[in-house]
């Protein structure tokens, strides 16, 4: 959610129950402004909160002019001091795939797990048990990245692409209409398109290249991993992800208010197919 409309956004996203306490809210309002100034970001998003055993991580993201460029992620333990996180790499994702369980809340905590690795020594090849240590910071980075790639969403029309390349915020976006708001196809993943190239030309013929340049939620696997609900009658549409429980996206149709927030334990719900 945009740091500028934090209060309203928190109010709209409160249907999921987890929000922020007043002191955190107050400190966020001030500290995010300072972050924006210091790092010279175009927009600062409050990404959410990852609940740890000992402490919680508060995560913010900064965007530059080009909305689809890789975002910089910052974290804080107390909503006032923010530290930049390194960008996520493939290696990190592989490393952290083995780590299970909750986040501790201490960024320097190390998870240990033993792995069987093939070690070549001369002519002999044998397996050794290697204890691999993964820092919690790395795990944090890769989880945030995974969540972003999987479930960060944006309504259709909120961003548009210019022929020169950069993606901009669409200032004439007036919100989705009610009928559009109930369809999964009006929401896009907030990341570079992956599926788009695989579409047939027939499907692409109806798309508007300036607006439809991201993947829509329709073809997400597993099907049914999104729950769409209208709250307050038809005045608010809330999407909750069932794959990463804790991610809430809200949008008030016909207005410009939209945003998403993640408040959860940072674990993927791998039991989803059983639960549907």
């Amino acid at each position: 959610m945009d740091a500028e409309s934090l209060l309203l956004s928190l109010e709209l996203a409160s249907g999921s129950g987890q929000g922020l306490s007043p002191d955190r809210r107050a400190s966020l309002l001030t500290s995010l402004l300072l972050v924006k100034r210091d790092y010279r970001y175009d927009r600062v998003l409050f990404w959410g909160r990852i609940l740890g055993i000992v402490a919680d991580y508060y995560i913010a993201q900064g965007l530059t002019e080009d909305q689809l460029a890789p975002r910089k992620t910052l974290y804080s333990l107390n909503c006032t001091d923010w530290s930049l996180l390194p960008p996520a790499t493939e290696e990190m994702v592989v490393q952290t795939a083995m780590v299970k369980g909750r986040f501790m809340g201490d960024p320097s905590h190390e998870y240990e797990h033993t792995e069987l690795q093939k070690v070549n020594e001369g002519d002999k090849v044998f397996e050794e048990e290697v204890v691999v240590q993964v820092k919690e910071e790395t795990r944090l980075v890769s989880i945030i990245d995974q969540i972003d790639k999987a479930v960060a969403i944006i309504p259709r029309g909120a961003l548009f692409k210019t022929p020169f390349g950069p993606t901009n915020v669409n200032r004439t976006f007036e919100g989705l209409s009610l009928s559009e708001a109930k369809k999964l196809s009006s929401y896009f993943h907030f990341r570079e398109a992956v599926d788009l190239k695989n579409k047939t030309l027939l499907e692409k013929a109806d798309l508007d290249p300036s607006l439809d340049f991201m993947d829509s939620l329709e073809h997400d696997i597993p099907k049914g991993s999104w729950s769409i609900q209208m709250e307050r009658g038809n005045a608010l549409v809330v999407l909750r992800s069932l794959l990463w429980p804790g991610l809430t996206f809200y949008h008030a149709p016909r207005t410009k208010n939209y945003g998403y927030i993640y408040v959860g334990t940072g674990e993927k719900n791998l039991d989803l197919p059983f639960m549907l």
Partner: protein, 716 residues
């Protein structure tokens, strides 16, 4: 030319005077009132001849595209015209302007000649004020009857055109604009005819008309024409005044086009879309209406007011400090809904238990305790099941002994706990949204709890949805919901140590099958615990809901014991089968009011996380407990008060992934003996061998007989 110029001059004068109006408070304007009327008859003649006059505009209009036009306007507003000289010098500038058509076009837009500057300035000012008005005029170009209307909405902005002026100048000014716009798009036309214009203004006019006609041509596809579209776009821009309009001009143009089409559908679609919103608003409005306060009801009210309704807002305030909550408005609505529930049912106590999220809809859960003797009787389904069991067994016995008798006897269903005991201590009501009617959830059966432990399913939000799972869940979503609520309550409802105490000690020790003490009451002498203590040590919190045994009940029920006491037929069965164990171990769970420090850890992680609500102001902070076993369960305490709350999906946390249980092995139904054991059919070789052996034995027997006969014969 003279004739034509003079009326044009007049017009121009009028224009100038018009322009002066805003800046000079109509000092000059007043004597000119009669003029408009006189010019009216002239207007008709001059309609086709307004070509040359607006030549004032082209000098800067070709260079002023839509975006810079505004800059133009502002620039020129800043330099108010030298109005007095304009009146006198109107004639020469006019002709000069005509002659200088070509030059200004190629030079910059800033005024090149001072006399020219006078008229171009005035003309542009005219235009500028015009332009803003044109936002209204242009949209009504086709209708030439609406002269007075457009002017009125913006008199304050430009201070001041009198409608009388405008009516007369309308056409003329509009044509000014027309020409200006035309010239925008046709500057090359104009540029190519600088010389020609002085000589043949009619050709220029013709060109302009052609250009205008081209712009007005309707598109065969969409029914729009460029003229209208451009004027709409500029209207929108001037109305909304976005920043950097030039960057988003394409989007605005697109939006205008879309708006043009979507309007027609609005009347149909809007109705349906807004209905649910109005419905729920109506329902919620009913919440806000005060109940009837008649005399007879007042006593009831007093009774109820004693303690049945909790202070939900206060609890919500504390939970908000912890970062948990539904938002103030929503919580207030839930509060009112609870009040409505308390008013309509005879309730001793009720509590806002929490919110369970579902796929299509969510559940708001209220925990309710009915008054003594007031709760409704439930249908005894369990007895029916028993009878069915017995019937089946009898049927088996009646059937002949031909069929091998099945060993299998369905395990006796464990009876559910009575109301107000154990897992059914409270009754739960749910609704989807505050304002909707409350629905009572059925009591929970032990079998349902046992099964609920084995499956993991999302709630859909509809109480009658079937639960399709393996192992099959006995019931639909309302039963599953009730079972999960029971599990969550048993696992996460905690209170500070000492808040509750056991009732008066009774003589006997109640360590029987009925389990430990299951009743508690508030401790009137509770003095509160320091918040810091509550945060630091988990032993200061205790469970105040009974733990649910693996059997599915809180108080253990011995199925074997009952067998012996009742159902003599079953005794016979038991003797026959002899496989039931005689003694099933009693299941024991932690007794009531055990501290939560005794809770099992999950993979080296404590079952609860404690936090202080605020590190910055610790003296007023409250202690917040968060369950790691049931994510979404919270409890807070400020030392004296406490409250539990749940918000989440309704599932337990497990580090490993859920694996559905494996189907049990095929049960051996009947004793296996030689008469029913299967044997393989003999293969061909075996059959041959058998036959050969048989034949051999037969032939051997025959031979023996023959030899015997032979021998007999021989003997004789």
């Amino acid at each position: 030319m003279e004739d034509s110029t003079s009326p044009k001059q007049e017009k121009e004068n009028q224009g100038l005077r018009e322009v002066e109006g805003p800046w000079e408070e109509k000092t000059a304007a007043s004597p000119q009132d009669p003029d408009p009327q006189s010019s009216e008859p002239l207007e008709a003649e001059q309609v086709p001849e307004t070509g040359p006059q607006p030549r004032n505009s082209p000098p800067w209009s070709p260079q002023s595209r839509a975006s810079t036009f505004l800059g133009d306007v502002t620039g020129q507003e800043a330099s108010p015209p030298n109005s007095p000289p304009q009146q006198t010098s109107s004639t020469p500038p006019l002709t000069l302007a005509e002659q200088d058509l070509g030059a200004p076009l190629q030079s910059g837009r800033t005024t090149t000649r001072i006399p020219d500057a006078g008229t171009p300035l005035s003309g542009s000012l005219e235009q500028s004020s015009d332009k803003r008005e044109s936002t209204f005029h242009l949209t009504r170009q086709s209708e030439e009857n609406t002269f007075p209307e457009p002017q009125q909405p913006k008199p304050d902005l430009y201070g001041l055109r009198d409608p009388s002026y405008d009516t007369s100048k309308q056409k003329e000014l509009r044509f000014d604009i027309f020409q200006e716009e035309d010239s925008n798009s046709n500057c090359d036309l104009l540029q190519s005819e600088p010389g020609a214009s002085e000589v043949t203004p009619s050709m220029l006019e013709v060109a302009i008309h052609n250009a205008k006609a081209y712009l007005l041509r309707t598109s065969s596809k969409s029914g729009l024409n460029l003229y209208d579209h451009l004027s709409n776009v500029l209207t929108k821009i001037l109305d909304e005044r976005p920043d950097n309009a030039v960057d988003i001009i394409e989007n605005i143009s697109q939006d205008v086009k879309m708006a043009h089409f979507s309007k027609k559908l609005d009347t149909l679609q809007n109705e349906n879309e807004l209905l649910p919103m109005y419905e729920i608003a109506e329902m919620q409005k009913a919440l806000f209406l005060q109940g009837n306060l008649e005399g007879a009801d007042q006593e009831l009210e007093e009774e109820i007011a004693e303690g049945s309704l909790p202070n939900v807002m206060e609890a919500a305030f504390y939970f908000e400090q912890a970062g948990v909550g539904l938002g103030t408005d929503e919580t207030y609505r839930i509060f009112l809904a609870l009040k409505q529930l308390a008013d309509t049912h005879p309730i001793q106590r009720c509590r806002f238990w929490g919110k369970i999220l579902g796929i299509e809809r969510n559940y708001i859960v209220a925990e309710v305790e009915f008054r003594e003797g007031e709760d409704e009787e439930e249908v005894e389904e369990e007895d029916v099941a028993e009878e069915r069991d017995n019937g089946a067994i009898e049927a088996d016995e009646d059937e002949e002994d031909e069929f091998p008798k099945a060993f299998y006897k369905a395990p006796r269903a464990i009876p559910k706990e009575e109301s107000r005991m154990g897992a059914n201590k409270y009754v739960y009501f749910v609704c989807n949204e505050p304002g909707r009617p409350w629905v009572k959830l059925p009591s929970v059966m032990p079998a349902q709890i046992v099964m609920a432990r084995k499956i993991k399913k999302f709630f859909t939000g509809r109480l009658d949805a079937p639960i399709i799972s393996y192992p099959p869940f006995p019931g639909n979503e309302s039963n599953y919901l009730r079972a999960q609520i029971a599990r969550i309550s048993a696992g996460t409802h905690v209170s500070p140590l000492g808040f509750y105490q056991f009732g008066e000690e009774e003589g006997e020790e109640e360590e029987e099958v009925e389990g430990g003490r299951d009743s508690f009451e508030e401790n009137p002498d509770f003095e509160g615990i320091q918040v810091m203590d509550l945060v630091e040590s988990l032993s200061n919190w205790v469970h105040h809901v009974q733990h649910i045994l693996p059997q599915g009940r809180c108080n253990w029920f011995n199925p074997v014991q009952k067998n012996e006491e009742e159902e003599e037929e079953e005794d016979e069965e038991k003797e026959e089968k002899g496989e039931d164990p005689d003694y099933i171990e009693q299941e024991v769970g932690p007794p009531l009011l055990t501290p939560i420090s005794e809770d099992l850890e999950i993979q080296n992680m404590p079952a609860w996380t404690t936090r202080l609500s605020s590190n910055l102001i610790p003296q007023y902070a409250i202690a917040v407990l968060r369950s790691n076993l049931w994510p979404g369960a919270y409890a807070f305490s400020n030392g004296k008060k406490f409250e539990n709350f749940y918000i989440g999906w309704g599932h337990k946390y497990s580090v490993d992934n859920y694996t559905p249980p494996v189907p049990p092995p095929v049960y051996q139904e009947y004793p296996s003996g030689p008469e029913i054991t299967e044997m393989d059919d003999p293969s061909v070789e075996e059959e041959h061998a058998f036959r050969a052996a048989q034949e051999a034995s037969v032939s051997a027997a025959e031979e023996n007989e023959e030899t015997e006969e032979d021998e007999d014969e021989d003997d004789d």
